[in-house]
């Protein structure tokens, strides 16, 4: 029986791949869960595109500072050692390759590492991009967190993205509720699967050819 990973399980799995001492940007949505599950043994410096390094946990209710918010516009805190800077410098950090890890959500990822996470083909909403494109091109490692399929079961991991691209050939690794996959010269290589997921079952919900190496593992419990 397939037991898909919960969002927190996925976040835990991502957290294991973030080395102690990393500078990390967590995208809005699922990626923000990662900060909640990183172990206390690691000192991670979280970056926010609106000019913060060293973000701490959410403030105690009642202690919110309306000016001290993260990229998702939620109140945050600053750790000792943190600093503030202006927007242009925040993007120097992103675009200039200074972040060790960027964790992003995705609508689609292609087998060549193309990322689509800013626009669908829906014309009823005005387009909005924010900092997605800068985050995708700049970090040393770009990790994507997403459900393996859309709510109505269509694959998000594809041979080619059908939605407008955020950036081409940028994704290093994808974490879904069903698997952990690297993106390399061979396309998607499955590293780990959720409990009960067989290669055939995973291939059936994926829109690109998957490679399963002999040392395929089950995602370890968080």
């Amino acid at each position: 029986m397939i037991r898909p990973l919960s969002p927190t399980d996925v976040a835990r799995r991502v957290a294991r791949d973030i080395p102690d001492g990393s500078y990390v940007n967590l995208g809005i949505g699922l990626p923000t869960l990662v900060a909640d599950v990183v172990g206390p043994d690691k000192e991670i410096v979280y970056h926010s595109e609106n000019g913060i390094l060293g973000m701490g946990p959410a403030p105690t209710p009642g202690e919110e500072d309306p000016e001290l918010i993260n990229a998702g516009k939620q109140p945050v805190t600053l750790l000792p050692g943190g600093s503030f800077f202006h927007h242009t410098d925040a993007f120097v950090m992103m675009r200039g390759g200074h972040l060790d890890v960027s964790v992003l959500g995705a609508f689609q990822v292609s087998e060549t590492g193309d990322l689509a996470n800013w626009a669908t083909d829906e014309a009823a909403l005005p387009p909005a991009v924010g900092g997605a494109m800068d985050l995708a091109v700049g970090a040393k490692r770009v990790l994507v967190v997403t459900t393996h399929t859309t709510r109505d079961g269509r694959p998000k991991l594809l041979a080619h993205c059908t939605y407008p691209l955020t950036a081409a050939a940028v994704v290093d690794r994808v974490y879904t509720d069903l698997a952990v996959l690297d993106v390399g010269p061979e396309g998607f290589v499955v590293r780990e699967v959720a409990p009960g997921v067989t290669p055939d079952a995973l291939q059936a919900v994926t829109g690109a050819r998957l490679t399963f190496p002999s040392d395929l593992a089950v995602v370890p419990p968080g």
Binding site: N50, P66, P127, A167
Partner: protein, 221 residues
Amino acid sequence: MIDKRVATLAEAVADVADGATVLVGGFGNSGVPVELVHALLEQGARDLTVVTNNAGSGETDIAALIRERRVRRIICSYPRSAGSVWFEQFWRAGEIELELVPQGTLSERMRAAGAGLGGFFTPTGADSLLAEGKEVRVLDGRRQVFERPLPADVALIKAHRADRWGNLVYRTAARNFGPTMATAAALTVVQVREFVELGELDPEAVVTPGIFVDRVVEVAP
């Protein structure tokens, strides 16, 4: 004698012309010069191009400017939010133009204007729809798109403290676009919480030197 302090919000925005390009600071609700934007609304300038990260929310500041049909065109990175109803309504009706710019490119284009540069190549967005119609060149092994400076007639920003020379310090993440916008406009107008005496700001910690600032007005929190 240099004294950039003005007494009223009305005076601070008195000469913004119809058709002006106006930079408005802020990210979400942090660092938005709400009172200056409301003063601009009162002042009546129309046919504006507004450059800002978001497209307003609810019924205040930029959303109010849009609602009152003062904004012909908006240049921003993220016009969509829970409360961006006025923008969305006008956009659907084709009554407001939108130029969508990746956030880092938006900031960098304003910086280029302030820095007197003619433009720059950036990898951001080079493989996206937002590069359409623009020059793309492979540099350092990656595709990069040529982006042009984004200068403005006026910048409206919010800072924490100012002295009479217009030196500014900000507060936490409210700094965001302020320092860059201050460099990119012919006229930079700043609302601050507090005026301080010349010499009270630490010269090592001034974020926006007064050379980039034309007017400061005090708006008590």
